[in-house]
Amino acid sequence: MRKITKALLGATTALTISAALPSVSQAAELTLCWAAWDPANALVELSKDFTAQTGTEMKFEFVPWPNFTDRILNELNSGGKLCDLLIGDSQWLGGSAENGYYVKLNDFFDKEGIKMSDFAEAAVNAYATWPKGTPNYWALPAMGDANAWFYRKDWFAKPEIQAEFKKATGRDLTVPATWAELIETAKFFNGKEIDGKKVYGAAIFTERASEGITMGITQALYANGFKYEMTPGKYDMEGAVNSPDAVKGLEEYKELYKCCTPPGYTDAYMGETLDAFKSGQAAMAMNWFAFFPGLYKDENVGGDKIGFFVNPKGTTAASTLGGQGISVVANTDNMDGALAYIKWFAQPDVQKKWWTLGGYAVHNAVLTDPSFKDSQPFAADFLVAMNQVQDFWQEPSYAILLQAMQKRMHDYVVADKGTAKEALDGLVSDWTEVFKDDGKL
């Protein structure tokens, strides 16, 4: 009997210890979720310093962009515990704040002396606040980003091409300053044979499933004065979303798509755009600043062969916002560890190192440094772009709003369905229904 008792006691102790072990290891471990792209690798490098200082092991869950929203929002909606920290898209802020998925950081910031005034104002508004622009912080600005352009500088510099361009257009071949010039330049290069290879004018976003075509089209829309509402906060979209300027912007984007993209370019986002440029097929391409360090280092098309420019003007100067803030997931089992990471990440020195590793810090200590503009060939453009960014809806219903826009835009631009005005009218109708359902109209 004593033997049985001893055996039971031993088994119970073993079970207790084994049950306790995961929680011990969890305490010294943090999982950070983000998209799988170049800056994520830089963050892995940067976070080694955090591990060295605190002993907390960092685990990373990087999801490819096309599945990023689906995967992470499913995780949040199902109350999963995968992520302790999340670098989530700016559009998720509204939903995540209202649904209690993110921890509100105001008290923590006050306690630790973290000031939002230390970060670029546009970045704070876009990546940290909900309701937008109010001092309610749900994230720390982590990665500034905007949609911009890059081009084959070596092709633009060829005397014979310059002469041909001058003859064809009557002006010098320079970086496009307006959307009209962008289209004209793309048309000039499209179908031309350079270095024995047929090339195309521009690689742009046309992806249907997630957010691609919307992020591309808004470059043209914002530059043409597109507004979401007639009166900010009133959701009165008629006359704003489908204004003549917006129609013009949409038509320009379609013109660029039709005239000058490589064949088979009907469902292209970040990866496809990079492929088209790196394979020497495209004279110009759009993509997020996040990829520019990698592009500049590229052996075939980087270095002296590549140049960068901010989104050309239409009636106004504007760029589509990318980038994200870092949030603490309310469901975390390691709240102290997650907050400690935020505190560490907010330090100016860490932010400076973040920039040198390839992350786009938006801390004023980085941006206002006199050497910043010359630190990278695209740094000055980044500053310009971040001062003119505009973002998509950040409403809790942003996913429905985005899906509606993806559908309407792809139908019009790629599938040739209807006119630009009809597409935007349809969008107003879709969005009106969403806001009515939300009780905001």
């Binding site: 909606n77 649904n99 249907r208 064949p263 809790p396 996913a399 429905i400 790629v414 599938a415």
Partner: protein, 347 residues
């Protein structure tokens, strides 16, 4: 050897005296294999267990065995279905856990049925289902007819033909996406080789006119072998004496085909149609990988619309209403079809 079973088959204690039961003793000579197995089971059943089971009726024991299965069925199939019906009458959104759930009556159903995009998706689905089934039946039956001739090497060719069916739809979707690539894709290259049309001049997946056919081609390539297998089973089930009798009656090959082969194989063909129709009505993975429903919404079949509504827009109530409508449609059509199939089988 004395049997330890009552006629009802109910288990008893192995140590109980046989005389207590109304049992007709059987001998080794007439003990069936089943009886032997039953006896063995009785012998190895622990006495306490046998004691507990004693007194239960056959019906009770039957219920005991099927209860776990029924419980699982209820939990996994029936409960979600009932829950989905409930959700379809609410404004519930899975991404708004803090929002109040209000009943909205038939609003979700009204919106789904009045949504032109949904009808467009249904039309796209119908086009896909109709053409894939038609092509798969024609080609599948023709292949089965040829294979049934038992020519030299027919076993090898049967295996070769079956290969596409063995692949995962994800793999098929991905590599056909490469095959259809206008600049480097083999499909465009072959077409160009035979017609002289430049390969980059047309896009199978990016063209509004061609993309519906692109997905039909891939599905037909993948699933025709499946139809062929079912048709082959049908053809091989036709007794030879029918053809011999027809030969005696001097029936032509054409007449034999239409009067013997087709009617006898018809139940199998109809079964193949049923399986493929149900499968293609809910087609999702392959189309997503090939076109993602594009260009625009040209190849957006109903299941993609449903997925977007449920897990991208997160309008769970409306998505549930759409799912119920689809379920009723498929269930209703399948029932009508099965009745027709039974009639054909009874001829």
């Amino acid at each position: 050897m004395t049997a330890r079973f009552r006629p009802s088959g109910r288990a008893v204690r192995p140590d109980a005296p046989a005389s207590r039961f109304l049992v007709t003793p059987v001998t080794d000579t007439d003990t069936s294999l089943l009886d032997k197995a039953a006896e063995k089971a009785v012998r190895v059943t622990p006495a306490p267990l046998a004691f507990r089971v004693r007194g239960l009726s056959d019906r009770a024991i039957a219920w005991l065995f099927i209860t776990p299965t029924i419980a699982l069925l209820l939990a996994i199939n029936i409960f979600p279905l009932i829950w989905a019906v409930y959700l379809s009458f609410t404004n519930f959104r899975a991404n708004r856990p803090n929002a109040e759930i209000d009943g909205v009556g038939l609003t979700n159903y009204q919106r789904v049925l009045n949504d032109p995009d949904i009808w467009q998706a249904m039309q796209t689905t119908a086009h896909f289902v109709f053409w894939t089934i038609l092509l798969q039946m024609l080609i599948g039956f023709a292949l089965a007819y040829l294979i049934d001739r038992k020519f030299r090497g027919h076993a090898f060719w049967t295996t070769v033909i079956l290969i596409p069916m063995m692949l995962s739809p994800a793999v098929v979707g991905n590599f056909w996406r490469f095959l259809y690539q206008p600049q480097i894709g083999l499909f465009n290259y072959i077409y160009s080789f035979f017609t002289g049309v430049p390969p980059s001049s047309f896009e199978m997946l990016g063209s509004v006119a061609l993309s519906p056919w692109a997905i039909i081609i891939v599905d037909t390539w993948m699933w025709t072998p499946y139809v062929m297998l079912i048709c082959l089973a049908g053809l091989r089930s036709i007794p030879d004496y029918l053809y011999e009798a027809a030969e005696v009656d001097r029936a032509s090959a054409w007449r034999q085909f239409w009067s013997i082969t087709v009617p006898m194989a018809l139940p199998f063909i109809m079964l193949a149609v049923l399986f493929r129709a149900i499968e293609n009505f809910k087609m999702f993975d392959m189309v997503v990988l090939l076109t993602g429903g594009g260009p625009g919404s040209t190849t957006e079949v109903a299941s993609i619309t449903l997925k977007r509504e449920a897990f991208e827009s997160w309008r769970t109530g409306r998505a549930s209403a759409f799912a119920i409508i689809l379920f009723v449609a498929v269930f209703g059509l399948a029932n009508i079809y099965v009745k027709a199939l039974n009639k054909v089988k009874q001829r």
